[in-house]
Subunit: 383 residues, 2 copies
């Protein structure tokens, strides 16, 4: 019940136990094509260039940055959490002249601030995290991307945590590059990073003055491997592709909109349950900017973070997450992602917390469970 | 029966269908420690820094180069095949001043040539491929590394294909950095690249004047994640680690020496069988420099490369590989790796080839199968 990896569906696990075929076997290239079609649907895009980068989510972030940004180019990064900081670091590694547009952790970035930051810096690219998993806050990516687009900046969106769990409209929002994650709301093990980008971005890469500084994370080569050209680049991580394909099939069968509604209901149920137990949510995250798939909750006074979480795992088999930077030891991050965005895992987590916290929390458990039940009943009635 | 991915053992596939635990769950960190111990045994090293890079083999090659080499530094690359060329490209991406030490494709590199190339260039690092899978030739890495070491160059070895299938003595041969592969003789799906490096290399990285140009492929950060510090870097590709762990357990149970003997026997059996069918092996590869786990074989006159291989896959379920560059359309590459380094897959491949080639090859099949049987009988008697 942390922020990932989440528990994959049994079908995904079974797919990953399947024997291998060669990467140019027609059976595998057909699976690749189908995976791309399913990815386009889940990312709500018609972008031709839509494929997984062969590494974990941050490989996708770095591939996007290193393939687009030229050394010395000015890049603006929206920073209001740990993954914004990661984007900054990745951009510096790529040789960019980085300008950070900061907002306090726990609050969403303001599109007007971003617009001013872009005007002041004249940045050629804008990097922004959609769901800032370190704080539980959603950034208004649609508005931020519009500000970037109006100023001619290439907008790169980290949608690792929002993908398949919150609204993410690549084409309607005109996002230039979107990097998704597999191990969060999609419910597929970590190891691939789906990306999609527009033809305009592909043209920009083709016009670069300097060569891309990476071979492995070069999106133009990966695109040629995932295209009918089938450029021989890396050896496909076959098992990971099997898992991604099956996880995307599950999204398609459920329907993306229904899946997003389920994540919203589960997030609201978890938040209501935690509050009923007497716990307080962190920062502005309680408001409309709260991520639907993650509840950031203040650690009660006198509770030892690491010892408490270890005990919860040991006694109840329930994993929740600590935090980063200044938030370490101050908040827990409790996820409701993929298969965990359902009544039983939410209730199990609340039971475990009330047992481990004891006292008032234990007494409040029935009320917390009732709140969870009400929220999921409302979801069922709306369907 | 190509050059990878090879067919994993059923135990590896089953391990990869296992449910996930969190990356800091004690059950998982214990598995990480055990994986490192098994890796050290398979790489014949006591190096503390021994762990998998979270990407396919070329991610490991790039991680080694980008973490060691500073922009502008002179780097010598031994090039006698496609993977030597890849090393050159990766080194250029890392900003190195690349000097290629070339030998004709199909012949092993000469350590004296390498020594002269190092003397002439004064290179700070030397990159060399152990088993050049594009041509079927082994480079004498021990002697080449000694030449590099005597000149103070950091030696980075691509042992992707030789790992767990041919002698590879990291400590005895005093190799600075070794990059291994999972999807060849180890019989684990592609997606991780085990690396090992000495404390001297770690000290060199710590002394860099310029920051490492990658976040994702930064060996110093990956080392800190695989160390008791457990730096929170990428989200572990859990399923891949499960698979690697189980594949390494199989190596340990079989015994590395026995596994290497099995690969040698299978390679000799395949070569003898192919020659009995009337096929000719390519270049110097027939001599002592032939890779034990791959047979490069001349495509007979009048046979269409792609159509023949597609037919073999369709009619017999047997995959063999084409080749790269000038060798494309001229040779096939037939592997005997991991579970395929056994009598039944070798015999099945020869049956399929004799059927598809027809004529003399078909008539010669009994002799080819007898040659295979003799070679494996000799292996059994030696045990």
């Amino acid at each position: 019940m942390g922020s990932g990896p989440t528990n994959p569906d049994a079908r995904v696990l079974r797919a990953m136990g399947t024997g291998l075929v060669g990467q140019f076997d027609p059976a595998f290239t057909a699976l690749m094509v189908d995976t791309q079609d399913l990815l386009r649907r889940a990312l709500r895009t018609r972008n031709r260039a839509t494929f997984p980068v062969p590494g974990t989510s941050r490989a996708g972030m770095e591939a996007a940055v290193v393939s687009v940004v030229e050394p010395g180019e000015r890049v603006a990064v929206v920073e209001n959490g740990r993954f914004g900081l990661l984007f900054e670091h990745i951009a510096r590694c790529a040789g960019a002249d980085v300008v950070a547009i900061r907002a306090p952790w726990g609050t969403p970035a303001d599109p007007d601030d971003v617009a001013r930051g872009l005007d002041a810096s004249g940045a050629a690219a804008l990097l922004v995290v959609h769901a800032e998993t370190s704080t539980g806050v959603m950034n208004p990516v649609r508005e931020i991307a519009a500000a970037g687009r109006r100023r001619g900046a290439t907008v790169i969106v980290d949608a690792v945590c929002s993908f398949a769990g919150a609204p993410l409209e690549t084409d309607t929002w005109e996002l230039d590059i979107v990097v998704a994650g597999t191990q969060k709301c999609l419910g597929c093990p970590s190891g691939l990073a789906p990306v999609t980008y527009s033809d305009a971005v592909a043209a920009r890469m083709a016009r670069r003055r300097s060569p891309i500084r990476s071979n492995y994370l070069d999106l133009t080569q990966l695109d040629r491997y995932w295209s009918p050209e089938r450029l021989n680049h890396h050896t496909a991580p076959t098992t990971m592709v099997y898992g991604l394909h099956e996880a995307l099939r599950l999204v398609d069968e459920e329907g993306l909109d229904a899946r997003i509604r389920r994540h919203r209901a589960a997030g609201e149920a978890m938040a209501a349950g935690l509050q009923a137990l007497g716990l307080r949510l962190y920062g502005e995250a309680v408001g409309p900017a709260k991520m639907p798939m993650l509840a950031p909750v203040m650690i009660p006074d006198g509770v030892d973070d690491a010892a408490f979480r270890a005990g919860l795992l040991e006694a109840h088999g329930v994993e929740i997450m600590g935090a980063f930077g200044d938030l370490a030891g101050r908040i827990w991050r409790i996820g409701t992602m993929a298969g965990n965005a359902r009544p039983a895992p939410v209730a199990r987590t609340l039971r475990a917390l009330s047992d481990a916290l004891g006292g008032q929390a234990w007494e409040a458990l029935p009320a917390a469970l009732a709140a969870v039940e009400r929220r999921f009943e409302a979801l069922a009635q709306a369907a």
